[in-house]
């Protein structure tokens, strides 16, 4: 089951992108998100595509992994495409079925919307593919530091995020294992009629939930016995150090945003 999870696992190819400070990567992703929200022309989209491809290639991770990352969202993309292309009535009429008319402007903005989505999803994969969860978390805690001023402790938040990230694969595995254990004793999800499946889903969710909370209990013991005390000072294993390259990395994003904004509002 975990096999299907592409995100949340890093692929170490040792490229330079891997060694960029996670805080820089996080900031870069936010900038990229902004850039994409502003994109509305083919030129700008082309620019963003080239930009994305350049980064994807420099991670030295096969492009098909990025494609896979976007796959789960294809339904959504089709939907966005259909809604956009049917609701915008500009340009010439290309096609009509009954009262529905497809305009060229609609088609193009529908395509742009769908492509934008694809780019967004596959590009953000760079972050997770090139950063281990620990580093990502550390980066997050760095980015969130200012929150302390409003009374939210970034360490606590990142520890919670860390636990959550670390346990998702485990809980998926556990779910799988309980399914196996039940299957091994004659209740096989795959081979049952629908109504039975529903019953089994409940008899699956309950032990998964109970099991997760039992895990929580044991994890508390384990953390306490390793000297964890809420709010006590801790040192950091992953030391983040900002270098010129990280600044450059962010600057490239700033430029992308600037150009795209310029293209939109001239």
């Amino acid at each position: 089951m975990r096999n299907k999870l592409l995100f949340g696992r890093s692929i170490d190819t040792g490229s330079w992108v891997h060694s960029v400070d996670p805080r820089a990567k996080l900031t870069g992703m936010v900038l990229y998100l902004i850039a994409l929200l502003v994109v509305n022309s083919w030129v700008a989209l082309g620019l963003a595509t080239v930009f994305s491809l350049a980064y994807m290639v420099s991670t030295r991770i096969p492009l098909k992994y990025y494609a896979k990352a976007a796959k789960p969202l294809w339904v959504l993309m089709v939907f966005i495409f259909v809604v956009q292309s049917l609701s915008i009535k500009q340009g010439t009429v290309l096609w009509h079925i009954g009262s529905w008319e497809l305009y060229s402007g609609g088609l193009s903005s529908g395509l742009i919307a769908a492509l934008r989505m694809t780019l967004l999803v596959s590009f953000t994969a760079i972050l997770t593919f090139t950063t281990t969860p620990g580093l990502l978390n550390q980066g997050l805690s760095g980015v969130l530091k200012p929150l302390r001023k409003v009374g939210i402790s970034a360490e606590r938040l990142t520890l919670m995020m860390g636990i959550a990230l670390r346990f998702i694969p485990t809980i998926l595995d556990e779910t799988h294992k309980i399914m196996k254990a039940q299957a091994a004793r004659g209740a096989d999800m795959k081979e049952l009629p629908w109504k039975e499946k529903g019953r089994l889903l409940v008899s699956l969710l309950v032990p998964v939930t109970v099991g997760a909370f039992r895990r929580a209990e044991e994890l508390v013991l384990s953390m306490e016995s390793r000297g964890y005390i809420v709010g006590a000072p801790r040192s950091e294993y992953h030391l983040l150090s900002w270098s010129k390259r990280d600044t450059g990395f962010i600057l490239s994003y700033v430029m992308l945003v600037a150009i795209i904004v310029y293209l939109r509002f001239i």
């Binding site: 620990g134 306490e224 016995s225 000072p233 040192s235």
Partner: protein, 280 residues
Amino acid sequence: MEGTKLAYDLQQVSFAYEPEHPVLSDVTLSITSGSWVSLVGANGSGKSTLAKLLGGLLAVNAGKIIVEGTPLLRETASLIMPRIGMVFQNPDNQFIGATVEEDIAFGLEGQCLPRVEMVSRVQQYAEKLGIQHLLSKHPSELSGGQKQRVAVAAILAMEPAIIIFDEASSMLDEQARGELLHILRDMRSNGDYTMVSITHDAEEIMASDRVIVLRDGTVAADVDPDTLFSDDALLNSCRLIAPYHIRLIQELERRGIKVPPFPNADKEVEGTLWPLLFNK
């Protein structure tokens, strides 16, 4: 006690998960600093429960636990617990980090060690337990024995004064168990550690200084390993079986062949059995 410091002093400790089923009753014992104690007993005799009490993870219902001179109470727990490291019976649920490396580092971060020191400890203990090649793995990608080794490494790396092992070698292969035993022996001769080890493994028991036998929630015996393994009635009552070489000697003796006691350490029969077999 004159001269020797006590790591643990338990006075009439009782505990129950549910009031109607007492698990430990009136346990009184003390453990000197720097010693290696084996805690043995049948399944369900209360070993893990006692270990959790010793580690400050459960609170006694009655009695007192004094750790290195300080009573273990809610208020003092935060001072005492950092001195105690504990490896649990089930290695599966004690992972905190998302990778083996981060997991070993978790305890070190809590000790506020500088980064250089953490990195060197992680490497050092990963090497000691032969898990360097697993450092970047997620816990759910490990086999049972690998999990157990990581759990041990994570605790040893913290170098706590008191270490409690709850069946830390139960899923290790013969080879790895030998290696772990070797590590424990080293730590023992180093003298800086107090070790309490729950185990069913005869070799491990033989290597320790002292054996505390639990039966039905009370201390049934408190002896040295040799005495334990020569006392059949005691062994039986706590469902233990003596190591192979001791049973062999006993069996030979039953048949009227006298054998001097011989060490098991390197499984060498030669030094002891041959003279017997030839020089009669």
